[in-house]
C-alpha cells in the first residue's frame, strides 16, 4: 500500500462522517441516529443531506441502542454514533442483548477515542471501549488508522457486514496517510512496512506513531515491521503469527488501556500459537486528564519514542 506523507491532517471522525454519508447514498435503508452530538461525531454530513432518514433521540444512549435494534429488525440499517465512552459504556447491556444476542446489523460509531481527546479530560476519553466491545459475541470491532481508512471502513461496515459493529475514531486531526485505493478487508491486517527484527502491531491513531517509530529505528539499524490491525475483532491471526515467526518479537500500540484491549487480543493469539516476547504501548491502567492532545500523548507514553523504547526492551528479550 502507498503511504502518503503529504496529504495533511484530518480527523478519523470526519472519515467516519463521510463514510456514513456515502453508505447512505448507496443504500436508502441506512438510517442515522443522533444523541445530541451529531456534528461532534461527524454525523451532520448524513443528517443534513438525508434529514428524513435521521432520527434525533436526544441524550438517551440506552434508548438509541434499543431503537437501532428495532429499526434493524424492520429492515433498516441504523448507524448510531456518540462519544465512545457513552456509546460503549452507557448502553452496554442493551448492546449485549438488543444488538449482539439478537445479532442485528447496527453500526455504532465510538467518537472521541483515546486520550487525544484533550482538554475535555478523563470523562470524555474513551480508553476502555475496545475491551468492552470485543468481549461481546457477534460483535465486530474496527479501529481505522486515519481519515481515509475510516471512511472506507465505515462504508464497508455499513454496506457489507452483518451483525453489530463498533467503529472507534478520534477527534483530533491526525496524519491522513493511507491510499484511497488501499486493499482494505475487514478482518485482515495490513503490512505497512516490512522488517525482520521486530514487529510493531498498531491500531487507530497509533499506526502513524508506529510508522514514525519505524523510521527512528531504521536510523539505529533496527528493521521493524509495521502492521496495521484495523479490525480488532475478528483479529487477523495470520498476519500476527507470520510476524511472530519472522521477527520473533512484537510491540503493540493503542490509544486504550493496556488491560483487555488490542494488545491483550494480540497476546491471546501469541500464547495460543507461538509465544514470543511482547511489549505493550497503551494507557497504564489509569484515567486521563485535561491537556493538549500532544501533551497527553507524551505524558502517558503514547508517542513514537515510547514505541522505540519498548522495541528495544522487547528485542533484549528475544
Amino acid at each position: 500500500m502507498e503511504i502518503y506523507l503529504d496529504k495533511g491532517n484530518k480527523s478519523t471522525k470526519s472519515g467516519f462522517g463521510e463514510g456514513v454519508l456515502e453508505a447512505g447514498r448507496k443504500n436508502k435503508n441506512v438510517v442515522g441516529i443522533g444523541a445530541d452530538i451529531t456534528t461532534s461525531v461527524g454525523m451532520n454530513l448524513f443528517a443534513d443531506i438525508f434529514p428524513e432518514r435521521f432520527v434525533s433521540l436526544g441524550i438517551a444512549e440506552q434508548n438509541c441502542v434499543g431503537v437501532a435494534a428495532g429499526l434493524a429488525l424492520s429492515g433498516k440499517v441504523p448507524v448510531f454514533s456518540t462519544y465512545g465512552v457513552f456509546a460503549a459504556l452507557r448502553a452496554t447491556d442493551q448492546i449485549r442483548i438488543s444488538l449482539c444476542y439478537n445479532d442485528v446489523h447496527v453500526v455504532i460509531g465510538g467518537a472521541h477515542a483515546g486520550i487525544s481527546v484533550g482538554p475535555d479530560g478523563a470523562t470524555h476519553q474513551a480508553l476502555e471501549d475496545i475491551a468492552m466491545m470485543r468481549v461481546l459475541p457477534n460483535m465486530t470491532v474496527i479501529s481505522p488508522c486515519d481519515a481515509t481508512q475510516a471512511k472506507i471502513a465505515t462504508e464497508r461496515a455499513i454496506l457489507e457486514l452483518n451483525g453489530p459493529v463498533y467503529i472507534r475514531f478520534g477527534r483530533e486531526a491526525v496524519p491522513d496517510f493511507t491510499d484511497n485505493d488501499q486493499d482494505f478487508k475487514i478482518g485482515k491486517g495490513q503490512l505497512l512496512a516490512d522488517g525482520t527484527d521486530v514487529t510493531i502491531a498498531a491500531t487507530g491513531h497509533m499506526v502513524w506513531e508506529a510508522l514514525e517509530a519505524c523510521r527512528l529505528l531504521k536510523e539505529e539499524n533496527i528493521s521493524a515491521r509495521v502492521i496495521n490491525i484495523h479490525t480488532i475483532k475478528p483479529i487477523d491471526e495470520e498476519i500476527i503469527l507470520k510476524a511472530a515467526k519472522e521477527t520473533g518479537a512484537i510491540v503493540t500500540a493503542e490509544e486504550h488501556q493496556i488491560y483487555g484491549g488490542f494488545g491483550s487480543a494480540v497476546a491471546e493469539v501469541l500464547v495460543k500459537n507461538n509465544p514470543v516476547p511482547m511489549e505493550f504501548v497503551g494507557m497504564p491502567d489509569c484515567f486521563g486528564e485535561s491537556g493538549k492532545p500532544e501533551e497527553l500523548m507524551q505524558k502517558y507514553g503514547l508517542i513514537a519514542i515510547n514505541i522505540v523504547d519498548k522495541v528495544k526492551q522487547v528485542m533484549k528479550r528475544k
Partner: protein, 300 residues
Amino acid sequence: MLLFFTFRIKINFYNFVTLIYLEMNYIKKHTIDELADLAISIRKDVVRALKVAGSGHLGGSLGLADVFTVLYFNRMRHNPDNPAWPDRDRLILSIGHVAPVFYTALAHAGYFPIDELQTLRKLGSRLQGHPGRDHHLPGIELSAGSLGQGLSVAVGMALAAKMDNADWKVYTIHGDGELQEGSIWEAAMSAAHHKLDSLIALVDSNKVQIDGRVSDVMEIEPLAEKWRSFGWAVFECDGNSIGGLVETYQKAEKISGKPSVIIAHTLMGKGVKSIEGDYRWHGRAPNAKESEDFIREIEG
C-alpha cells in the same frame, strides 16, 4: 407481494366475511366466551410446561394469559404460517420472563406444535428460558430477558413503519416493576416526541415484583400521570377481563398523533385462586402435586 400475503392470511385463517370485519377492526373471529375458553386452555398448558421444566415464571404467565389470548386471537394481524410476513403486527415482549405464556399462546395460534411446550428450558430446545431468536422459534420478534429494553426496540420498529408508510402496529408488554428502569422513560419520551401512534404498550399492573409489593420495593404511582406527562394516551382496564381488554385495545388503536399505553390491572397467578396475588410465585414452577391442583383450580 403485500396483496399476496394478505390473501394468504385470509385463506388460512378467516373466512372472507370475518376478514372484512377484522380489517374494519370492530368484530373478531372468536366470541368473548370462546376467547375465555382459550385463555383457560393456555393457562393449563402453562402450568404443564412449567411442571416439566422444573423452573420458570408461573405467576406473571398466568396473570397475562388473557392479554396474550386477546392479542393473538383478536387484535393482532399475523399469520402463523408466515411468521416473517412484512405487514404483520409485531408483539414485543419486554418482560422475557413470562416466556411460558408467550410460547403457549404462539403454540395455540399455530406457530408450532403444542407438544413442543414440553421442551421448555431444556438443552437444545427452541423454547429458551427467555425468548432467544438464535433458537429460531417461529413468532419471536425479539430475544429478551433483560428488563427495560423492549420499549426502545418497539420505538425503532414503529419508526421504521412510519418511514415506510406501513400500517402495521407494534404491541408491547411490560411489567410494573419493569417501569422502574430508566430506559423505559427514555423510550416513552421518544415515542411521544416522534408521535408514534402505531405503538400500543401494555403494563401488566399486578402490583408485585420479585422482592414484594411494587409500592414497597419502589413506588411507581401515580402511574397514569407518569405516562400522561410523558405524552402518552393512557387507558386502564381489568387485565383479566377478555371483554375489557378487547374494548380497551380498540380504543387505543384509534388514538392518533401519540402512542398509547394500557395499564392492565391483573393478578399474579390469576386463575389459581390459592396463589393469586402472591409475589412468591413470580419465579417458581409448580411441582407435580401443585401442578395437578393448579390445573384443577383453573378448570374451576
